[in-house]
């Protein structure tokens, strides 16, 4: 038997719950989703025949080779995109950390915000318009978005890094390039590396789908095969995507464990 005193009636909790329920019900009503039709026997039968067309997956050696090339392309897009992004992010992080005055800080801060607020897929569409279909558009799209994300993170690490070394170099008359290279960069290089690797991991995942708008990689193969109604081939591509994502996850989890061991 419950002998706890009953909680007092909480009007705030009650209204919150009421608002949330209203939002949820409102959403379903607004969308007019035919929920009952979706789960009707006929629709489920349709669904199962559709799913059945995906199996067995195409594992002919020609197609597997194509997928292999797609995986390599995806990895290359993400690696080069992240690399270009971290290069520009370092350049942008200097003004964003306030090293060139507050006006530059505001302007670059706004630019970084804009770069990272626009999703990768939108950048990819724009870049496909500019440089044409192909993996290079994907590289540029990833680079633009990631430069915004990394620029902000790098600026934070610059702001938080101790300034004594840079200051003493400055007082002893070193050039500003040397102050940057020997006073600042060694202090934040490990953070730059770990942030870049983390973003690379996310970009691998993103690069698998950028192909939907024509920016190369596995996504382009999947989109192409699905457009031709080649479900068996599409199934192999999806399995490859899944394995790629799971593999990257496992490797990064392993590396992180190794890193935390070596730090401890």
């Amino acid at each position: 038997m419950n002998t706890y005193p009953a909680e007092q009636f909480c009007i705030k909790c009650f209204t919150t719950i009421l608002v949330i329920i209203t939002c949820i019900v409102g959403s379903f009503v607004y969308l007019q989703m035919p929920l009952f039709e979706i789960f009707s026997a006929e629709s489920l039968a349709n669904l199962s025949t559709y799913v059945g067309r995906f199996f067995p997956a195409d594992i002919s050696s020609i197609f597997l080779k194509k997928i292999g090339i797609g995986i390599i392309e995806t990895l290359a897009i993400s690696a080069i995109g992240t690399l270009v992004a971290s290069f520009f992010a370092i350049l942008l992080a200097l003004p964003a950390a306030g090293l060139f005055g507050s006006l530059a800080q505001q302007l670059v801060g706004f630019l970084l915000n804009f770069l990272r607020s626009v999703p990768e897929l939108v950048w990819a569409t724009l870049m496909v318009l500019t440089v044409g279909l192909g993996p290079f558009a994907g590289v540029l799209a990833l680079a633009l978005h990631t430069a915004g994300v990394l620029g902000r993170l790098f600026a934070q690490s610059i702001e938080n890094s101790p300034t004594q070394i840079a200051r003493s170099l400055e007082l002893s008359g070193a050039s500003s390039m040397n102050i940057f290279l020997y006073g600042l960069l060694p202090q934040i290089s490990s953070q730059i590396l770990s942030y870049s690797l983390y973003r690379w991991e996310m970009n691998i995942r993103m690069a698998t789908i950028l192909g939907f708008v024509g920016a190369g990689g596995l996504g382009q193969i999947l989109f192409y095969e699905l457009s031709l109604l080649h479900e068996a081939q599409a199934c192999s591509v999806i399995i490859a995507m899944l394995l790629l994502v799971i593999g990257v996850d496992a490797i990064s989890a392993k590396l992180r464990r190794v890193q935390s061991f070596s730090l401890a």
Partner: protein, 271 residues
């Protein structure tokens, strides 16, 4: 002596080494920055971006935009609600803190163990496939429109939430739950009285964070025809209508900011 840097040769070697590794990658991605500065390409982009200002503010268009914004919000909310229906049972199944067999010898140990294993694999597949791929597949079943978007969010975030729920339940204080289980109460009761009171705030906070992510994802999923702002943006982009794209982008950015703020506020109240 003044300009000698003892680390310079080593650094140079590393640079050469990195370049040799990255060279094939540059070839594969057809890396060619000059392409970006070709006059015809720049002109296309310039013309398109030139139209961004002023943004489209015609009355009919704003009406469509408003509808699409509401649709995006509704897709995210409905998607997360359906995701909960997938995530809660799966999360409870795989959570180790509700495992009776961990306490001591129990009947049907193997059956439950294999059920957990199967649930884990299902969730890995659900969240391993990106939501936009689910959307692309579901659009082919349910046609263009919001249904595919809602179900794609439900499937992907169901897998994600389920995993994180089980982790939260395992990392929160499990003593009272274990005591209840040891005294012979059922798993559901042990969950409601032993685990939920301690973990509910964190669970709710994570769910709201995922709602925010779902909002962003639902915009992106529009690009494969799953309704909302993304679909509108895709159409305007294909027609190279810069002023419409710029209005949609502005609304999208505002929406993301709003969701950011809302989720931050609610979570601050919770924790």
């Amino acid at each position: 002596m003044t300009n000698y840097d003892p680390a310079a040769p080593r650094r140079f070697l590393w640079l050469v080494f990195a370049f040799i590794i990255l060279w094939p990658a540059l070839l594969i991605t057809q890396f060619n920055p000059l392409l970006f500065f070709e006059s015809t390409n720049l002109q296309v982009l310039g013309n398109f971006l030139g139209q961004f200002f002023p943004p489209q503010t015609a009355r009919d268009f704003l009406q469509i935009l408003f509808k699409a914004t509401l649709e995006t919000l509704a897709i995210a909310t409905a998607g997360i609600t359906l995701a909960l229906i997938i995530a809660i049972p799966l999360g409870l199944i795989i959570s180790q803190s509700l495992s009776i067999s961990r306490i001591g010898p129990a009947n049907g140990h193997l059956l439950w163990w294999s059920m957990r294993y199967i649930a884990r694999i299902i969730m890995m597949i659900l969240r391993g496939v990106p939501e936009i791929v689910w959307a692309l597949l579901l659009v082919r079943v349910f046609g263009l429109g919001v249904t595919a978007g809602v179900l794609a969010i439900a499937v992907t975030y169901g897998g994600m939430l389920g995993k994180v729920y089980s982790e939260i339940l395992e990392s929160s204080d499990t003593k009272s739950c274990r005591v209840l289980l040891q005294l012979g109460s059922g798993r559901i009761v042990a969950f409601f009285y032993g685990l939920l009171p301690g973990a509910s705030q964190e669970l709710a906070s994570y769910t709201i964070y995922r709602w925010e992510c779902a909002l962003r994802a639902s915009v992106v999923m529009g690009f494969v025809g799953a309704g909302g702002l993304g679909q509108l943006m895709d159409q305007s982009m294909k027609l190279l209508n810069g002023s419409e794209v710029s209005s949609i982008l502005i609304v999208f950015l505002l929406l993301v900011l709003l969701a950011d703020w809302l989720s931050y506020e609610v979570r601050r109240q919770l924790l």
